[in-house]
């Protein structure tokens, strides 16, 4: 009987006991999370600005992130400082270029200092985040008959100078002073090589002897970039 009571008592105690909770964070992982978050903020800000959002949101987003990190006291006093790149070609941390040479860039650059202060020691960790989406296009055309032209455009999408996939590609061609979007009536086809390279082909009625084309790309990170080029006749 005593054993039975004892077992029941132990079971009730074990099930109903107060849960002990130990908070364990590693500084190494925390700093890694701070760097990752900084990168995400830069990507989000560039995506917003390249899609026509406010340039000032970059600084505001970074302030929000710095403020969140500075409110963490797991290892001492945390502070995150940031500075937007102002070195040419960057301005307010951004470089947006949509040249007529077949090259388009949307880039953001920010420098960071993570400071951890304790009673005895202060550690500074400096790092930078540079996010760049670039589009490189090359185009050729062939006159089929009269004003009808067969146009080919090769589009390469790059993230941080490495091949990247596009989420959306829009192609335009210039005809009689206006920019038009080729569709199925133009026998529009797009070939995705799966390597960040795309081949766009279409037929268009263009009276002019020169053919200007433009590619507007949104990458997987929602960053917009545009490149324009004058097509070469073959």
């Amino acid at each position: 009987m005593a054993s039975l009571l004892l077992a029941s008592q132990m079971y009730i105690f074990e099930v109903g006991k107060i849960t002990t909770e130990t908070e364990l964070n590693s500084l190494e992982n925390f700093v890694l999370a701070v760097k990752l978050g900084s990168k995400h903020v830069v990507i989000g800000s560039l995506a917003n600005a390249s899609n026509g959002g406010q340039i000032s949101s970059f600084s505001l987003n970074l302030q929000k992130w710095s403020s969140l990190i500075s409110s963490q006291f797991q290892f001492g006093k945390s502070s995150l400082y940031h500075a937007l790149c102002e070195t040419a070609p960057y301005s307010s941390g951004f470089w947006m270029y949509q040249g007529a040479n077949g090259y388009g860039v949307s880039s953001a650059y920010a420098n960071f200092t993570y400071r951890l202060s304790d009673w005895e020691v202060t550690i500074d960790q400096n790092y930078f985040v540079n996010i760049t989406t670039a589009v490189i296009i090359e185009s050729t055309f062939q006159t089929i008959r009269a004003n009808e032209k067969q146009i080919n455009i090769t589009i390469n999408v790059l993230n941080e100078m490495g091949p990247a996939l596009a989420k959306q590609i829009k192609v335009y061609y210039e005809s009689s002073g206006g920019w038009l979007i080729p569709d199925e009536t133009n026998n529009y086809t797009i070939l995705d090589y799966g390597t960040g390279s795309y081949l766009v082909s279409f037929v268009a009625d263009i009276p002019s002897s020169s053919v200007a084309v433009s590619a507007q790309v949104i990458d997987q990170r929602e960053i917009y970039a545009q490149a324009n080029v004058t097509s070469t006749q073959i």
Binding site: G16, A33, L36, R221
Partner: protein
């Protein structure tokens, strides 16, 4: 004459009560301290799971989309079998963001390890979050 049988029963009953008191008092007086090495390993595993989910911005975007099911499913895959977790997400004003619990089982009655993680979403409207993940090894 004294009934010796009854005397022994009384002694046995007192002994049983004494044993029960001792059993109840021991854990209260000397609570078991958590195994720190094991706890640290569990904390590292949990943080690594969150980092893995955060590397390409998935974590912040899933939070921004309020996709609690996908977060739970991802953590189920990233954490080893036998690890229970409960994740709570706070915004920059420390208000709870997740309106559903993100957990795979109840942590009651377990020695819990918790980790805190800061993250940001990388979508057009950047949001920042603090995540608190409680974990326990079950079984």
């Amino acid at each position: 004459m004294f009934d010796q049988k009854g005397e022994i029963r009384i002694i046995e009953a007192f002994l049983a009560i004494a044993v029960m008191f001792v059993v109840v008092l021991i854990p209260i007086t000397w609570p078991s301290s958590p195994d720190l090495t094991q706890s640290k390993d569990l904390a590292d595993i949990g943080t690594q799971a969150l980092i893995t989910l955060d590397v390409n911005g998935t974590l912040g975007n899933l939070i921004a989309q309020k996709n609690w099911t996908s977060i739970k499913q991802s953590l189920d895959i990233l954490l080893p079998l036998g690890v229970s977790f409960n994740l709570t997400i706070y915004d920059e004003n420390l208000r709870t963001v997740n309106d559903q619990t993100i957990q795979n089982s109840n942590l009651l009655g377990s020695e819990v390890v918790s980790v805190q993680y800061a993250c940001a979403s990388q979508n057009l409207d950047v949001k920042t979050y603090i995540l608190r993940m409680q974990m326990a090894e079950i079984g």
